[in-house]
């Protein structure tokens, strides 16, 4: 967590996927303060979306933040993705789903609540920095 699912009617080039995955990570972490190693982005392709929609982004995020933060996150995410992908507001749909951190296990540990990452020893010890990532081109 977070797990962002990006759905498009057509396949995106690899370079665009990388850009988008990084953008989503930067926006999410920049606003929430969450560690980058938490941010998963998955791409589904060849989907039939609503008329006129070129991309759908569904964010599964940890529960425990304010409604204002969630709204800000969704709006900023939309704005930045539209900028990057050169989409209008109507061509992008976003939705968020909140789930308690206590229901998620990553790195063999239950996720910390939002804002308590600094208390999380396993995270401070370098969770996800090497082992779960492939060397990228």
């Amino acid at each position: 967590m977070p797990l962002y699912t990006v759905t498009t009617p057509k396949s995106l080039p690899n370079s665009r996927r990388v850009e988008l995955a990084n953008l989503i990570m930067n926006v999410h972490c920049g606003l929430t303060g969450a560690p980058e190693t938490f941010v998963n982005v998955m791409f589904w392709e060849n989907a039939t979306l609503n008329d006129g929609v070129a991309m759908h982004v569904y964010g599964g995020i940890r529960k425990g933040r304010t409604a204002e933060m969630r709204e800000t996150l969704q709006k900023e995410m939309s704005r930045r993705i539209c900028q990057l992908m050169i989409l209008t507001d109507k061509e992008l749909e976003t939705d968020m789903f909140e789930m308690p951190a206590q229901w998620i296990m990553e790195g063999g540990e239950i996720l910390p609540e939002p804002g308590e990452e600094h208390l999380c020893e396993w995270l401070l010890n370098g969770h996800g920095t090497e082992h779960n990532q492939k060397a990228f081109i």
């Binding site: 392709e45 996800g128 990532q133």
Partner: protein, 221 residues
Amino acid sequence: MLDKIPMDQIISPMSDYYIFVAGGQTPCPITTIISYAPDSQGVKKQFTVYQSIYFLRWFHKKSTKGEDMKSIRVMCTIQEGSLGYTKIKQLESSIKDIYQKYFGPDYKLVFMWLTLPHGQAYLAGKLSAASSVQLPVQDGLPASRRHPFMSEVCAKWQEITGCTQDQIILASSDFTESEKFQRGLVNRFKPSKRKSTMLKMLMRFMMGRFKKGYYNTSVTL
């Protein structure tokens, strides 16, 4: 026919509710499923899907061996080519055993394997090698029971696959919330295409089972 099937039944194909509405009696139409072709259109396509629904009913009754079993849909998202048949069947068997050990023998786990083609999953902005599992549990389960269960599942996953602890992400949410999450995923599709999209995925899961021995399909629709 398709319009008469509520969405709930299509997104939970293994639930009793779905099977109930599918109704009717027919022998197992395996040949019908094999004859399904992606380029089929119109009447022929609908007829084929209809027959497949009867197959689901037959399969579910045959596999649950009783009316009191509760079906739990387990969604596993893995990297394409990362796990073979033997490991997948070991995972299915072991996780089922753990689940029944913690929550009783009345649960039947139905594993659905979603494969991610290379380049379609990222963690921290880089290609990811992690697998994620959605394994729902009963609503309101206290952390004192939920967390040991989750730890055991993750440990078993590591033992069988040989992955590191960072390469398995487990979500054990309440049933109700898990269904809401899945519904959110379905809602991204155009309303008039949701049923047909879900049925298409269902068909592909089943074709995957015939080909590989377990329910599987790709996230590329």
